[in-house]
Symmetry: C2
Subunit: 141 residues, 2 copies
């Protein structure tokens, strides 16, 4: 069996940061992100977080299945997600999508640009080939 990966690349616009800035510390946000990921049975090896000026923060989770990253830019009401998971031991495509859906609720964006890249290797005459399936970008609201 050759491994495949699902990579969701998403940009969130017109996000609402009030809830996070006023009511939660970054540590609580990190715990929430971790719980979203582990609920889908992914294995978190380590989660990093860092605060920047203007209440911006980054969270990067190294998973056994690859990684999740969240970079925020509150002054522009912008958040970027990368959710990148391997389907080696089981098909994680649904779990990856569910992580995405739960994460966007944290920021209540009015617009989303999302792209799903399926990376896949298969053997053909001794060579590896790459199939990159792109689904159309869409926008909410």
């Amino acid at each position: 069996m050759y491994p495949s990966w699902t990579h969701i690349i998403a940009d969130l616009y017109d996000c609402d940061f009030a809830y996070h800035i006023e009511k939660h510390s970054l540590e609580v946000i990190v715990e929430h992100v971790n719980s979203i990921i582990t609920k889908q049975w992914f294995t978190i090896l380590w989660t990093l977080h860092h605060s920047f000026w203007y209440n911006a923060f980054s969270i990067v989770c190294m998973l056994a299945e690859s990684h999740v990253s969240i970079h925020t830019w509150p002054e522009s009401r912008y958040v970027s997600f990368d959710i990148y998971t391997c389907n080696y031991s089981r098909d994680n495509t649904v779990g990856t999508q569910l992580i995405f859906e739960e994460l966007i609720h944290m920021f209540a964006p009015k617009n989303i640009q999302k792209e799903v890249i399926e990376r896949m290797m298969k053997s053909n005459s001794g060579k590896h080939f790459f199939a990159n399936y792109r689904k159309p970008v869409y926008s909410l609201l």
Copy 2:
């Protein structure tokens, strides 16, 4: 000024892992990756690394400018890179490309699939717009 980001997504095929597996510990590889990144004046906040079975490893660097990830799969001679950097304080597009070029030398791939995503926000009538410029995928050899 509105921030923009450069995101290099690359998949390396038919890589050579002999050098890393036989001659270097993962800690030495991590140091080398860190030096490639800092040489381009990026700020590393933290670097995570993890070893898997079959000499596979992952390295994830959280940068002040976003992140760099390396996921390896020696049994399939495959490596994936994500190099994602912000151009807020200065134009980092050249530095981002130079990191990519130095990283690929570590794995001597015979084939590369690379894509550069430029993410950009600009104001227009009070709304943010997203320009996603895609350059064509290319392959070496």
